[in-house]
C-alpha cells in the first residue's frame, strides 16, 4: 500500500512537472526525485516480501493495510514538507525575500 501510494504520488508529480512550466519553476522536480527514489527502493522491499510470502503478499490483513496506507500518506506529507522547505529556502520567485524586506514581490 505504501509503495502504491508513493508510485501514484510520483506519477502525478511527474505529469505536473512535464505539463506546467510554472510548476517546474516551483521546483516540483524535487517531489519527483523524492517519490521515484522511494518507489524504486520500496519496489525492492516488495519483491523480497513477495519472495517470502508468495501469494499471501497480495492478501494482507486489514489492520496491516490500514497501517501501510497511513504510512504512505505520511510519506507523501513528509515529501511535501521537504519540497516546501526547499522552495522557501531557494525562493525562485523572490517572494520570501520580498516579504522579509517588506516589499511587494
Amino acid at each position: 500500500m505504501t509503495l502504491l501510494i508513493t508510485v501514484f504520488a510520483a506519477v502525478i508529480c511527474t505529469a505536473i512537472w512535464y505539463k506546467s512550466a510554472p510548476a517546474r519553476e516551483m521546483k516540483v522536480g524535487v517531489l519527483c526525485w523524492l517519490f521515484w527514489g522511494a518507489s524504486i527502493m520500496w519496489l525492492v522491499d516488495a519483491i523480497f516480501e513477495y519472495a517470502e510470502l508468495q501469494a499471501a503478499y497480495f492478501t494482507p490483513a486489514a489492520e496491516d493495510m490500514l497501517n501501510d496506507a497511513f504510512l504512505g500518506l505520511s510519506v507523501v506529507a513528509l515529501g511535501l514538507i521537504i519540497w516546501l522547505v526547499i522552495l522557501l529556502v531557494k525562493d525562485p520567485k523572490g517572494v520570501v525575500r520580498a516579504a522579509l524586506k517588506g516589499k511587494k514581490a
Binding site: A38, I40, M41, V75
Partner: protein, 133 residues
C-alpha cells in the same frame, strides 16, 4: 531494518563525486576565441550524476522515515534498535547485504536507463515548440 543505509552511503559517495566532476568540468571549460559557432548542446556529466544523487537522497530520506515509523531507528544510541542485540544485528546486516544492496543496484540501473534516454534525446533534432493560447 537498516536497508536504507546502503543507498544513503552510495548517495554520499555520489554527492562527493558530483562535486569533484563539476569542479573538473568548470576547470576544463575554456571560452573559444573567435569561434562564432555555438557548441552542441550537451548535458554535463555532473548534472547527470546529480540525477543519481537526487534519486538516492530522496529515496533514502523517505525510507529512513519508514524505519522511524516502524521503531527500527531511534534518536538515541545505538540509533538502530537491531544493533543492541547480536542476533538482530546479524539479521540487520543480512538485510543490508541483500535488500539494501539491491536497492542501490536498482536505483543505479534506473539512472543508467535515464542516461541512455538522455543520450537519445540529445542526439535527436529539437522538436518544434507547440504554440499554446
Amino acid at each position: 531494518m537498516a536497508c536504507f543505509l546502503v543507498p544513503a552511503t552510495e548517495a554520499v559517495v555520489a554527492t562527493i563525486a558530483t562535486k569533484f566532476v563539476a569542479k573538473k568540468e568548470k576547470e576544463m571549460t575554456v571560452a573559444p576565441i573567435g569561434d562564432e559557432q555555438a557548441p552542441a548542446e550537451k548535458i554535463p556529466f555532473s548534472r547527470k550524476l546529480k540525477w543519481l544523487t537526487n534519486l538516492l537522497w530522496g529515496g533514502a530520506a523517505l525510507l529512513a522515515f519508514e524505519h522511524v515509523w516502524h521503531g527500527e531507528v531511534t534518536p538515541w544510541f545505538p540509533f538502530l534498535t537491531a544493533a543492541g542485540d547480536p542476533a538482530d544485528a546479524a539479521e540487520m546486516l543480512h538485510e543490508m547485504a541483500t535488500a539494501g544492496v539491491m536497492m542501490a543496484v536498482l536505483v543505479t540501473a534506473v539512472w543508467l536507463v535515464m542516461l541512455g534516454v538522455a543520450h537519445v534525446i540529445e542526439k535527436r533534432p529539437a522538436a518544434p515548440r507547440l504554440e499554446t493560447k
